[in-house]
């Protein structure tokens, strides 16, 4: 399951999607909007995605994860639009037979998402806003 959505991310929906009797280990990562960045107080966060491409790159991450680890199920959701403090911006969950693989696969997925998936965020402060200094995409996974 891969989704880019503007509504709140439902962890229940993700975990329902991962239901499976053959896998004993589930690892879920949630990224949330923090109230500070580089010593400055953040009040909200706005996310913008290049949707078609983001979807495609997330699909490539899913394919790569399944090639590298015995992942039976994976769910990746990223939210777009205006988020309040504490709200979940990204959720990635994997189900594996064993926990070690589940941790590795989930961490690889979020690390790679941050390196390859075209999404941008803008921090809102009490007195202004600023695009977050990003990473030049590592397109290695596709080439």
């Amino acid at each position: 399951m891969i989704e880019l959505i503007s509504e709140k991310i439902s962890v229940d929906k993700i975990l329902n999607n991962l239901e499976d009797h053959s896998t004993g280990a589930v690892v879920l990562f949630l990224g949330r909007v923090r109230d500070h960045a580089n010593g400055r107080q953040v009040t909200r966060m706005a996310y913008e995605a290049y949707a078609e491409m983001a979807h495609k790159k997330m699909q490539e991450i899913e394919d790569e994860v399944k090639k590298r680890w015995p992942v039976q199920k994976i769910a990746m959701m990223h939210r777009t639009g205006e988020l309040e403090l504490g709200e979940v911006s990204v959720a990635i969950a994997v189900a594996c037979p064993h926990r070690k693989e589940a941790f590795q696969a989930c961490q690889f997925a979020i690390d790679t998402l941050k390196e390859t998936v075209p999404i941008w965020k803008k921090e809102q402060f009490v007195d202004g806003e600023a695009w977050v200094e990003g990473t030049v995409p590592d397109s290695g996974i596709t080439q």
Partner: protein, 81 residues
């Protein structure tokens, strides 16, 4: 010939639009686009050094030769998650 430029994030804000048509010469490479874009949107220039490119929803190298009707995206450094 023409390509369609798509803009995101900070570049979209600076351009005050999310799409633009750009007239190019036969044989133009993606990497050369930054000069044309810099002419069209002077306030974007300082941000064009660290930009990445995509064609048809995937990353493309600077050496890729553009074709009529290509949809080319200019991607500022990403910050999802």
């Amino acid at each position: 010939m023409k390509v369609t430029l798509r803009l995101f994030g900070q570049l979209r804000e600076l351009a005050e639009c999310d799409e633009a048509e750009i007239e190019i010469k036969e044989g133009t490479k993606i990497g050369d686009l930054v000069w044309l874009v810099g002419e069209r949107f002077p306030n974007m220039r300082q941000h064009l050094k660290v930009v990445s490119f995509s064609i048809d929803n995937d990353y493309a190298s600077k050496e890729t030769v553009l074709n009529e009707g290509n949809e080319v995206s200019l991607l500022p450094p990403i910050s999802g998650g």
